[in-house]
């Protein structure tokens, strides 16, 4: 590990951020501990195969990217009846105990260097609190990044038998010169019989280095579903994870990405089956054009006590250009035999026969290719139950194809 950021990072900066948000002592302490731990923490894990490192995170110059006290964003929060959608200051005022109980309970604040950095420096973010028994409508969060670096932290607490759908959109507003750094941590706590669907659509500027960890804990009968759409950024390292901790809990992780030029997406979809009768479904589709590169890791981990598990994973990548690269590692870790698990992964290009069929019916080749690429995303789009997110994603794909 080389590029350490804290040459220009001090405890007093962390204190100032904490003070701005009106934080209690315990949170400041958590931040300080994360800051102090930076010295000993490694970069997030990336896949290495003989002679190759799939994503080079050490190449980032964090020192020049991160400006802890200069953060600016537009935050648009549309809340829904029965659910509280709060800024951090509001959440700390109104639900201090709940925040203290759950903060860092799903994502270890010191899981790796970049997570600890986020814990120490986050200034933006949202707490979504869904009280017991509430069926909330859609919650929408739009984050527009207006500074060189931005650290976003979202905590979702869905109490027993509640349900909520959250749509998060990340974009870039006023352009700043040079590279940018965006970091987002999302923790989802789904208590017994709760249902959380968290959809994120990342369309940051292509000068942005983007690090995201989204992780949920599902209690008995709970469901945590994720949608992770990645269109923007220069480099994205995104991990979407669910631990199925309660019997009969479920998770679906849907991923879609479309890379062009020299974009690099490192996408992880991971699920841990740790209780009985749990179900997981991981579906990712991606398209690569120009010199774009995708790195995909899918993990289905079935624990020793996870009886009667069902776990499925599919990953498909379409390559539109010879200069693109698609690396994939779909992994199965199975410790209980009472399991039905499968995964499949494919990489290929637009099917020649389909092209021939369409062009022979008078569609020009460019339009035919675009239609086939859009069609390729359909199996993922179909699974997106939120109309607005599906339409947005579809629109971004449409636009990218016609750039």
């Amino acid at each position: 590990m080389s590029t350490q950021v804290h040459a220009n990072l001090t405890e007093s900066q962390v204190e100032q951020i904490s003070d701005d948000l009106g934080e209690p002592e315990w949170l400041l302490e958590t931040r300080k501990e994360a800051l102090a731990a930076l010295d000993d923490l490694d970069m997030p894990e990336v896949i290495r195969t003989p002679g190759r490192t799939w994503t080079n995170l050490d190449a980032l110059d964090y020192e020049s990217l991160v400006d802890p006290l200069e953060y600016a964003q537009d935050k648009d929060r549309v809340d829904a009846e029965g659910v509280e959608v709060l800024s951090w200051s509001e959440a700390l005022d109104e639900h201090a105990d709940l925040v203290e109980e759950h903060f860092g309970s799903v994502v270890d604040p010191q899981r790796d260097y970049l997570t600890a950095l986020s814990t120490a420096l986050f200034s933006a973010g949202t707490v979504v609190y869904v009280p017991e028994g509430v069926d909330a409508e859609d919650v929408k969060i739009r984050t527009t990044m207006n500074s060189q670096s931005l650290f976003n932290y979202t905590l979702v607490l869905a109490e027993e038998s509640s349900s909520v759908t959250i749509l998060e959109r990340q974009g870039t507003g006023e352009t700043t010169d040079g590279d940018q750094y965006y970091s987002g941590i999302v923790e989802v706590v789904a208590e017994e019989n709760a249902y959380v669907q968290y959809g994120a659509l990342q369309n940051l500027s292509e000068e942005t280095y983007n690090f995201q960890v989204k992780r949920g804990h599902a209690d008995t009968y709970a469901t945590v579903n994720w949608i992770d759409g990645n269109i923007g950024s220069r480099l994205t390292k995104s991990s979407v994870e669910t631990r199925l901790l309660g019997d009969a809990s479920e998770s679906q992780i849907l991923g879609a990405f479309f890379g062009h030029e020299d974009q690099h997406f490192d996408i992880g979809s991971r699920v841990w089956h740790e209780a009985e009768h749990t179900v997981a479904d991981l579906v990712t589709r991606g398209v690569l054009d120009d010199e774009a590169r995708s790195v995909y890791e899918g993990v289905q981990d079935v624990g020793r006590e996870a009886w009667d598990t069902s776990s499925y994973q599919r990953e498909n990548t379409l390559m539109l250009s010879d200069e693109s690269e698609a690396d994939a590692s779909p992994k199965l870790i199975i410790n209980n035999h009472d399991t039905e698990a499968s995964h499949s992964a494919t990489v290929g290009q637009v099917d020649e026969e389909d092209m021939f069929y369409m062009t022979s019916r008078g569609v020009n080749p460019e339009a035919a290719k675009n239609m086939l690429v859009e069609g390729f995303f359909v199996p993922v789009l179909e699974e997106v139950q939120v109309d607005e997110l599906r339409e947005d994603l579809d629109q971004l794909i449409y636009e990218r194809l016609r750039e």
Partner: protein, 476 residues
């Protein structure tokens, strides 16, 4: 099927694999690994200077390289202590490099191989058998009609003496350089014995060439080297079998296999490996396949405490093909980490990998595979299929494939499934009068059939028998 069963009655595989013998050796190297040991081995073998130099260079590389233990889920190698193994033992026979007539072998060695059923295979007029006992080939035979065509099948030590130019060019220079990994370097330093197979142009060896390796001493290491060169338009099928009885100390097997498949040649390399459950089996096997050549790996990995083995093929020329068929079986205390690596470095190359694994009684199997499609390897295709069968929740079955795809005009597919032995299938068979164990054995036999049908009948029978013994828990 009936002939299979007759064969099973005739041979008692369990006894064959479990016996061990007291015996004396002609020469035994000191424990551990030093430059001095290597000089002694090289001198005892009367090797040319260049081979000694390669050994010493490999030793230097070995010392510098890290253990392959930082991989995700890698087997525990903390017990592997090279200082505690005896790297080289030459059995007490007069004739260096093997005898021509089976009856010239010392009785105790004959007896050993009798129990392994090797002479039987020989009697069945198979083309040739090389049998390695400890570190050296003690017996080998080759049918004359192949020799007349210029086919060479001899042990590696003899090859160093008699085919020096070929060895100098191919030995650990192109396929498995010592720098490949720590155990390839170790192998390069202290290799001993193994087989050399050379098939000239336009020659088809239509019977399998066989070698059998066995470790018989306590706490020893075996480091045989196999070099196969199949010239243009030639064809050969090489089969090796391995076993070792059980001792209290650990054994280390670190073989090296290099296969050269020239234009339009066809090589099949089959292994049925059944090391004792205290053996660390850390092998490096690689084939380089030229245009329109075909390489086929068929592997059955049974036994051993831990196995790390990923036979790999470099598809170097256009139209080259690689097929992998592997089966792994891990019982109590075993960690079988195996898979396949394929590098598609030319257009229109094709690979298929079919991997089956069975885990039981706390055993762990892992498919760890790498498919690399280089930029420019257009119109290449690869298909990987992994199926795992698990018996209980003490066992573990992992699948860790890695796919690096740098070319768009390709067809890449990977599929894996894991499941338990089907209750319905067992019930069906039981309702037809089979008991629980027999029903499970029958299901397993069906599960591994794609492997067994690629093997000559004696090996298929042996593999089936080994799996039966594993399932009874009576082996190792």
């Amino acid at each position: 099927m009936s002939s299979d069963q007759d064969h099973l009655k005739e041979t008692d595989t369990e006894k064959r694999f479990e016996f061990k013998k007291e015996e004396k050796s002609a020469f035994e190297a000191e424990k551990g690994l030093t430059e001095e040991t290597i000089r002694v081995i090289s001198e005892d073998k009367d090797e040319p200077e260049w081979m000694l130099e390669r050994r010493l260079r490999a030793l230097e590389q070995y010392k510098e390289m890290p253990m392959p233990d930082d991989w995700p889920g890698a087997p525990d190698l903390s017990e592997v202590d090279v200082d505690e193994i005896v790297p080289y033992i030459r059995p007490d026979i007069e004739t260096r490099g093997g005898v021509d007539d089976w009856n010239d072998l010392p009785e105790e060695i004959q007896d050993t191989f009798d129990k392994l059923g090797i002479p039987e295979a020989e009697k069945n007029a198979l083309s040739g058998v090389g049998a390695q006992y400890e570190s050296e080939i003690v017996y080998q035979n080759m049918q004359e009609r192949w020799e007349e065509k210029g086919v060479i099948f001899c042990d590696m030590d003899k090859a160093v003496q008699e085919h020096e130019d070929i060895l100098k060019e191919y030995f650990m220079t192109k396929a498995v350089p010592p720098s490949d990994n720590k155990f390839a370097a170790l192998h390069g330093a202290i290799w001993s014995g193994g087989s050399f197979v050379y098939v000239p142009e336009d020659t088809t060896v239509d019977m399998p060439v066989q070698a059998y390796f066995r470790m018989n001493s306590d706490g020893m290491g075996q480091f045989e080297h196999t070099l196969i060169i199949a010239e243009e338009n030639s064809e050969v099928h090489y089969i090796e079998g391995c076993s070792a009885p059980k001792y209290s100390e650990f054994n280390l097997h670190s073989g090296g296999v290099e296969v050269f498949v020239k234009e339009n040649a066809h090589v099949q390399y089959s292994t049925v490996q059944n090391w004792s459950k205290n053996t660390y089996n850390l092998n490096t096997k690689r084939a380089i396949c030229e245009a329109d050549g075909t390489m086929e790996w068929v592997s059955g990995s049974m036994g051993s405490k831990a196995t790390m083995l990923y036979p790999s093929t470099v598809l170097k020329g256009p139209g080259a093909t690689d097929n992998h068929i592997t089966i792994a079986f891990a019982g109590e205390g075993q960690d079988i980490d195996t898979g396949a690596k394929v590098y598609h470095n030319a257009p229109e190359t094709k690979s298929t990998i079919e991997s089956k694994s069975i885990s039981k009684d706390g055993g762990r199997t892992n498919y760890r595979g790498l498919v690399h499609i280089a930029d420019g390897a257009e119109d290449s295709s690869t298909s990987v299929e992994c199926d795992a069968l698990m018996f209980d929740n003490e066992s573990t079955s992992d699948t860790m494939p890695y796919m690096e795809i740098q070319e768009s005009k390709v067809d890449v597919a990977h599929e894996a499934t894991v499941g338990k032995i089907g209750d319905e299938d067992v019930f069906y068979l039981q309702s037809r009068g089979l008991d629980d164990d027999d029903a499970k054995q029958m299901i397993v036999a069906g599960f591994i059939e794609p492997i067994t049908e690629e093997l000559p009948i004696e090996y298929a029978v042996e593999l089936n028998r080994l799996i039966e013994l594993e399932m009874e828990g009576s082996l190792g």
